[in-house]
């Protein structure tokens, strides 16, 4: 009896699952490649230790993501008494979505942006800048907050940390391999006779560089898919896709017009922002963390059409079952 207008976007889900699978495969390729290259040599053990250290760093960042991100943005947590309207909107959205309320913080910067972070829906924080509060209307702000709450519900910090772990481990290994070349060169020659001549560290360097490069593009691709997902869920939550669309248009225009001097210090946070704060054009489609404004508006228009359709009867629509 209970029916919903929320329709799954199968194409998006399939593409996203494929990217996640490829990232997983990449991680396995890294481990297996190193195991083969290292063989019984002592370098294999060191490589594993470095890799594990890399994962450890990623895990620590994920576990403390809420406080780390808030500190990086110099954001301050606000109580319901300090920001009653903001808390009121979030209260209602959380009740609609049946999810625990995140901590609410405000960052005092003129750059219009918002982000959500935290290791799980129960340990999450939602941060908005004073810049975005000044520029958006209440309805647009609600759309943005719903988008961020969708990130929390989808556990995007966890997903992106997992996705990035292959890249992080590969990055650490690249460093390790460089040190290995500098200091381990002498030690390598002692048991060179049962090897084919290419130093282990060189192979490790090549493997990890390749893995790092591939993982970089895959992670960015995944990040763009996650943004589209959050847009979709957020629009269905507020039932007003056009409010989010107008907010995105406003923010994207504003961000592009802000001088890049302000933006450099916030670049590390870009993956979790509602719209990226970088306006570079090189390789943009491949490396940006967010989908283009056109893509996002197009999807929101689809959601809007979905909401406007009659559930049964009315004008005939092909493929619209009961």
């Amino acid at each position: 009896m209970a029916r919903t207008r929320f329709i799954n976007d199968r194409g998006l889900t399939a593409r996203m699952t494929l990217v996640m699978f490829l990232l997983g495969a990449l991680f396995v390729a890294l481990v297996v490649g190193l195991a083969y290259a290292g063989g019984a040599a002592f370098g294999g053990g060191v490589a594993v230790v470095i890799g594990v250290a890399g994962i450890g760093v990623a895990w620590w960042q994920w576990y403390n993501s809420d406080s780390l991100a808030l500190k990086a943005m110099r954001a301050r947590e606000v109580s319901p008494q300090e920001a009653p309207e903001l808390h009121g909107v979030i209260d209602r959205l959380c009740t609609l979505a049946d999810m625990p309320k995140p901590r609410v913080a405000i960052a005092y910067t003129d750059m219009p942006n918002a982000f959500a972070t935290g290791r799980s829906p129960n340990h999450s924080a939602l941060c908005v800048t004073t810049g975005i509060l000044d520029r958006l209307t209440a309805e647009e702000m609600e759309g943005v907050l719903a988008h961020e709450l969708s990130h929390v519900a989808h556990r995007d910090v966890l997903v992106m940390t997992l996705a990035a772990s292959a890249g992080i481990a590969a990055g650490m290994l690249t460093r390790g391999a460089q040190y290995g070349m500098m200091f381990g060169g002498g030690g390598r020659r002692d048991n060179n006779d049962n090897n084919n001549g290419i130093p282990f560290w060189l192979i490790a360097l090549v493997i990890s560089l390749v893995v790092y490069a591939v993982s970089f593009f895959l992670t960015r691709l995944l990040s763009r898919y996650r943004e589209l997902c959050a847009d979709r869920s957020g629009a269905f939550l507020t039932q007003k896709p056009s409010a989010l669309a107008s907010a995105l248009t406003k923010i994207s225009g504003e961000i592009a017009s802000i001088p890049s001097k302000d933006l450099r210090e916030t670049q590390a946070m870009n993956a979790f922002f509602i719209a990226p704060a970088v306006s570079g054009m090189t390789l943009r489609t491949l490396t940006s963390t967010h989908p283009s404004l056109e893509q996002r508006l197009e999807q929101l228009a689809k959601v809007s059409a979905e909401l406007g359709k009659p559930m049964d009867g009315g004008f005939p629509a092909p493929g619209l079952g009961l």
Binding site: F6, L96, T238
Partner: protein, 189 residues
């Protein structure tokens, strides 16, 4: 939401749970005998109006349906958060009729696929001293909580806790106090 849903970004929308609404009349009797609070006869439903023609049509049909009888017409208003309130009035001693009205609003919206847009329902109570009390029904949880406003932006927590203990046997009460969302200036209070 399960891990798989989280990974694939599929949001299962929280389903509304309507059945507990009909335990309100029994709770009102308890409230009347154990304290001085009696129903005002006003009750309201709060939901998020979706954009587009489908919702407009649903809402129009709904209002026509509810107004097609002898009792006072429903009143529609929009609050500062952009949520719509439908206020229904019945005789104060006929709480069953009021609950039926509220239930009609909810089932109609749900049947048209807008169940996810429902926020809460509220039934107003008052006592001879003029204190106001609302029993709020949260669809997504299927639970009730008391809301007693005391002037602008202040609530009478002591009274709310008393009512919670009083009605614990009659109604499913929301256990998580952080979900006791304030509804300042809600129609029907």
């Amino acid at each position: 939401m399960g891990i798989w849903d989280a990974l694939t970004g599929r949001t299962k929308q929280a389903r509304a749970n309507l059945d507990a609404l009909f335990s309100l009349p029994a709770a009102a009797v308890t409230l009347q005998t154990a304290s001085a609070f009696s129903p005002t006869g006003a009750g309201s439903v709060c939901y998020r109006a979706a954009e587009g023609a489908a919702f407009e049509q649903t809402q129009q049909d709904l209002v026509t349906l509810l107004d097609n009888d002898d009792d006072p017409d429903v009143e529609r208003s929009t609050d500062s958060f952009g949520f719509t309130w439908l206020l229904a009035r019945q005789a104060p001693d006929d709480l069953a009729a009021l609950v039926t009205d509220l239930h009609t609003v909810n089932t109609s919206l749900e049947a048209q696929g807008f169940g996810a847009a429902l926020l809460c329902s509220l039934v107003g109570f008052t006592d001879p001293a003029g204190r106001r009390l609302g029993l709020v029904y949260l669809y997504k949880q299927g639970t009730f909580y008391p809301f007693a406003p005391q002037g602008p932006q202040r609530r009478d927590n002591l009274l709310e806790i008393q009512v919670r203990d009083l009605l614990a046997d009659d109604l499913p009460i929301e256990k998580d106090l952080s979900r006791w969302m304030p509804l300042w200036g809600a129609p029907g209070l």
